[in-house]
């Protein structure tokens, strides 16, 4: 946590931007070292350029893909699928999870399904959605929806079950109705858990997006990776893989900062 400390010190004493930059460099130096090792191993001829394209070659391929529009079109297809599936899963999952936690009838109805589906590796459903929905968008969106649904349901359920009962009692003794307790007390109190579940679901959405596009190949980033690899264009394949990986990373970080903004009431003074 040394870098973190330095950054906060820098923020306090004002003459900080230089210190902050240095701290950032120190922190991410290992990443640069790894990149340098990559480049050196590639150049040394220990492995063939085919196996490990140089960083320059990958960057050039990336720019080519960007200019031709191939990357943007496929990224748009992939990310819109992931977003649709994930968005639906969050809406449905939150509702089902909260209702399961507060209404015994819902618990009885949904618990068996959740218990069977939760531990199942969702990628096993790829052939099924292929049979049900064909090779188009619907199959992938449905797969992402199902995969993301369960972590959201389970986190909403656990979050709502774990709400301090005294908070609920306080609200009822202040005159809140059953509906109001659910919407105004249980939902916000369970929000930290729900958001943690959504973060897991976000990771799942990327995994399932790429996996399904690998297997049910028509378009999208997964398809692009596969077809570039089949065509032997390895620098471009590496470029797309690294794009997918960094998009996943950035999405997670953005969601993380959204969460800490949304949950700022939790922070200790």
């Amino acid at each position: 946590m040394a870098a973190g400390d330095m950054r906060s010190v820098a923020a306090v004493d004002g003459r900080g931007s230089l210190v902050a930059v240095v701290a950032l460099c120190v922190r991410y130096l290992p990443v640069l070292i790894m990149l340098a090792v990559w480049e050196l191993v590639g150049r040394s001829g220990l492995v063939s350029q085919q196996m490990l394209p140089g960083i320059g070659a990958i960057a050039a391929a990336f720019l080519d893909l960007l200019q031709s529009g191939e990357l943007v079109v496929n990224a748009w297809r992939s990310l819109s699928r992931a977003a649709t599936g994930l968005g639906l899963a969050v809406l449905v999952g939150m509702t089902v999870g909260l209702l399961m936690a507060t209404r015994p009838l819902f618990r009885t109805l949904f618990n068996p399904l959740v218990r069977i589906l939760y531990p199942m590796p969702k990628s096993a459903l790829i052939p099924l959605v292929m049979i049900w929905f064909g090779l188009g968008d619907a199959s992938k969106i449905f797969l992402i929806f199902l995969g993301c649904l369960l972590p959201v349901i389970v986190s909403a359920y656990n979050g709502a079950r774990g709400v301090n009962p005294f908070i609920v009692w306080s609200a009822t003794s202040l005159g809140a109705s059953k509906e109001q307790v659910l919407r105004e007390i249980i939902l916000p109190a369970a929000l930290p858990d729900i958001l943690a579940g959504c973060r897991t679901a976000l990771a799942f959405s990327f995994i399932l997006m790429v996996s399904s596009e690998f297997v049910i190949a028509k378009d999208g980033l997964g398809f692009l990776i596969g077809s570039l690899g089949d065509g032997g264009n390895y620098p471009a394949m590496f470029a797309v893989i690294l794009t997918v990986a960094s998009t996943g990373f950035v999405a997670d970080r953005l969601f993380g900062s959204f969460v800490s903004h949304r949950l700022r009431w939790k922070e200790q003074a």
């Binding site: 040394a2 120190v26 922190r27 991410y28 290992p30 990443v31 070292i33 790894m34 085919q50 196996m51 015994p104 618990r107 009885t108 109805l109 618990n111 068996p112 399904l113 069977i116 589906l117 531990p119 199942m120 590796p121 969702k122 990628s123 096993a124 459903l125 790829i126 052939p127 099924l128 292929m130 049979i131 049900w132 990771a203 990327f206 995994i207 997006m209 790429v210 996996s211 690998f214 297997v215 980033l221 997964g222 990776i225 596969g226 690899g229 390895y234 394949m237 590496f238 893989i241 997918v244 990986a245 960094s246 996943g248 990373f249 999405a251 997670d252 970080r253």
Partner: protein, 260 residues
């Protein structure tokens, strides 16, 4: 018998009834032709297929291969990641080097790297297992690191004042105290490993449940696809239960196992 346990039993019975009801509706609707049996083959057909495959032994070969790959990759990942996570928490230099790499690697969709592993190690078991190790590694190392660096200082100070050496501290105090977090990391990693196993099998073939399923899907054999889903569901349930059981066994001392 107390009223509460009565309620529990009633609830369990109701849930079983819900399940039986669902399966009956499924059977009925595909037998009656309300949905096309290709989309939703009757459960009795799926069960019949499962029995046939069990008699021929095909199920056990596929399940065995899938389980072997998943567990091998998972165990290798654990063997590498747990010591590294502990070292990161205890040694400044190790932490400095690995923390940025791991914090970047952790949220990345590792599955995207499959084609690279195919390129490097071909499509046989080696590349599958390495891919599984790669995807299991990050959740385990992250959980171990965070668990080890957040343990209470009081037991550490007590042990030190009672005369524990540095290595005794590590084995007898730090490891047990961090074990709940480490086990949580393993419990997160195992399902990830299962997902990865299935996908690599679908992509690279070479038998296993994933390979068998994708073949069934390509040949429009929906009964085979459903049989595969049931096999994987059971396998997933078994390995997750096994880890739950292991956790309860290892953490008998922990308050989490007392509250009921």
């Amino acid at each position: 018998m107390s009223p509460l346990s009565l309620i529990r039993h009633r609830d369990r019975l109701l849930q079983a009834l819900v399940l039986v009801g669902l399966v009956s509706v499924w059977e009925l609707s595909s037998r009656a032709g309300w949905v096309h049996p290709f989309l939703l083959p009757p459960p009795s057909d799926v069960l019949a297929r499962l029995f046939a495959d069990m008699q021929s032994g095909a199920v056990f070969v596929d399940l065995g291969l899938t389980l072997y790959r998943a567990v091998t990759g998972f165990v290798i990942a654990a063997v590498l990641a747990v010591p590294l996570g502990i070292l990161m928490a205890r040694r400044r230099g190790v932490q400095w080097f690995f923390d940025p790499l791991i914090s970047i690697g952790f949220p990345m969709p590792k599955i995207a790297f499959v084609p690279i592993f195919i390129l490097w190690f071909d499509i046989y078991d080696t590349s599958k297992v390495i891919m599984i190790t790669f995807s299991c590694f990050f959740p385990i190392v992250t959980a171990t690191y965070s668990g080890t660096s957040h343990i209470d200082k009081w037991p550490l100070w007590s042990a030190r004042s009672l005369g524990a050496s540095e290595s005794e501290l590590l084995r007898e105090i730090i490891l047990p105290l961090a074990s709940p977090a480490i086990l949580t990391g393993l419990q997160i990693a195992l399902p990830v490993g299962m997902i990865t196993t299935i996908v690599t099998e679908m992509l690279m073939g070479g038998s296993g449940v994933g390979g068998a399923m994708i073949a069934a899907g390509r040949f429009a054999d929906s009964v085979g696809v459903f049989a595969g889903i049931i096999e994987i569901a059971i396998l997933g349930m078994v390995v997750i239960r096994a880890l739950d059981w292991l956790r309860a066994r290892l953490l008998v001392w922990h308050p989490e196992n007392r509250a009921h």
